[in-house]
């Protein structure tokens, strides 16, 4: 029992570290691949975490990812931080719902990608008092589908190689 608890803790630390590193690499070195759509590499870690460790751990990984990656880039509590937090909060919520509904991993990944974009647009609209920014949503939704499928494929490949540690529901 103690061994399992240690393993969970180590996995949680590793996933958090991976999410932070992927988030920083993506924001600095990769950038948007199409219009404003990013791949969402850190979403792979969120998907893997909820399947392997569980919901609570996924929330911890996502929260730590936003806080530490913006802190390391010197942008904590800036507009970037709140926009990032908005995207992650909504995508985490959707991820939990999809996990409860037993949706396929690929569909969950696409919905997470979509909700991440929607969350960010909502925060930008509130932050800059610009409801017209919603006009960008069709582009983001369209771009999120292939990106979500891509992250879903990678998450699927990871999950076939790691045994889940969470209790079956």
């Amino acid at each position: 029992m103690g061994n399992l608890k240690t393993r969970r803790f180590v996995y949680l630390a590793l996933f958090t570290a991976m999410a932070i590193v992927l988030s920083i690499i993506e924001s600095i070195y990769i950038g948007p691949v199409f219009f404003m759509v990013r791949v969402g590499l850190a979403n792979i870690v969120a998907l893997v975490t909820i399947k392997i460790l569980g919901t609570k751990e996924m929330i911890i990984v996502n929260a730590m990812r936003v806080v530490i990656s913006t802190l390391m880039r010197g942008m904590i509590f800036s507009s970037t931080f709140w926009i990032s937090l908005g995207g992650v909060a909504l995508s985490s919520l959707v991820l939990i719902i999809m996990d409860r509904m037993k949706s396929s991993l690929m569909f969950t990944s696409v919905m997470c990608s979509i909700s991440h974009s929607v969350g960010q647009v909502i925060v930008v609209a509130l932050f800059y008092m610009q409801p017209r920014i919603a006009a960008i949503l069709p582009y983001l939704l369209l771009g999120s589908i292939p990106m979500g499928i891509l992250t879903g494929i990678v998450a699927q490949m990871v999950l076939t190689r790691i045994r889940p540690l969470k209790q079956p529901q």
Binding site: P32, F35, S79, T80, I83, M106, I136, P138
Partner: protein, 151 residues
């Protein structure tokens, strides 16, 4: 993926495509009035570093477009109907804006993101403002800018 999941994704894709096509429909633009005034006004920060630019009271050839810094200060108004190039400064560095044929875009920007540069050319009927998050600069129509800055 299950069949209904594919259907739902297809519906999202089709609705998004339809929305994009509707937004890209051409709109008629009003002709300019032909004035000889200066086509731009920068904020005068020689006395007050937080001073906003004053919205010009003459009619523009196109329409007045504002560059807002930190959602609180208009640093530049330019006439979208007169070709020109303008430079403003944000959190990270400079931003060069080019105006041509009643359209404007970010020609060059000093930041790591380049999203504003990649947004391309905007016109009066564009639904989106150009936003540069690292520099905290927004390029938007004058009326919305005044509502945003409270001035």
């Amino acid at each position: 993926m299950k069949k209904k999941e594919w259907i739902l994704l297809a519906v999202i894709a089709v609705v998004s495509l339809a929305a994009i096509l509707i937004m890209r429909l051409p709109k008629n633009t009003a002709e300019g009035t032909g004035t000889n005034h200066q086509p731009y006004v920068y904020a005068d920060d020689s006395e007050d570093p937080y001073a906003s630019a004053v919205l010009p009271d003459w009619e523009p050839e196109g329409e007045w477009i504002a560059v807002v810094f930190r959602s609180s200060r208009v640093v530049l108004y330019f006439d979208s109907g007169v070709d020109g190039e303008y430079t403003v400064h944000g959190n990270v560095g400079h931003m060069d804006i080019e105006v041509k044929d009643r359209k404007w875009h970010v020609k060059d920007v000093d930041c790591y993101d380049y999203t504003c540069k990649n947004m391309g050319w905007m016109s009066a009927d564009a639904l989106l403002p150009i936003i540069c998050l690292p520099n905290d600069l927004v390029i938007i129509d004058a009326e919305t800018a005044q509502n945003m800055t409270g001035g």
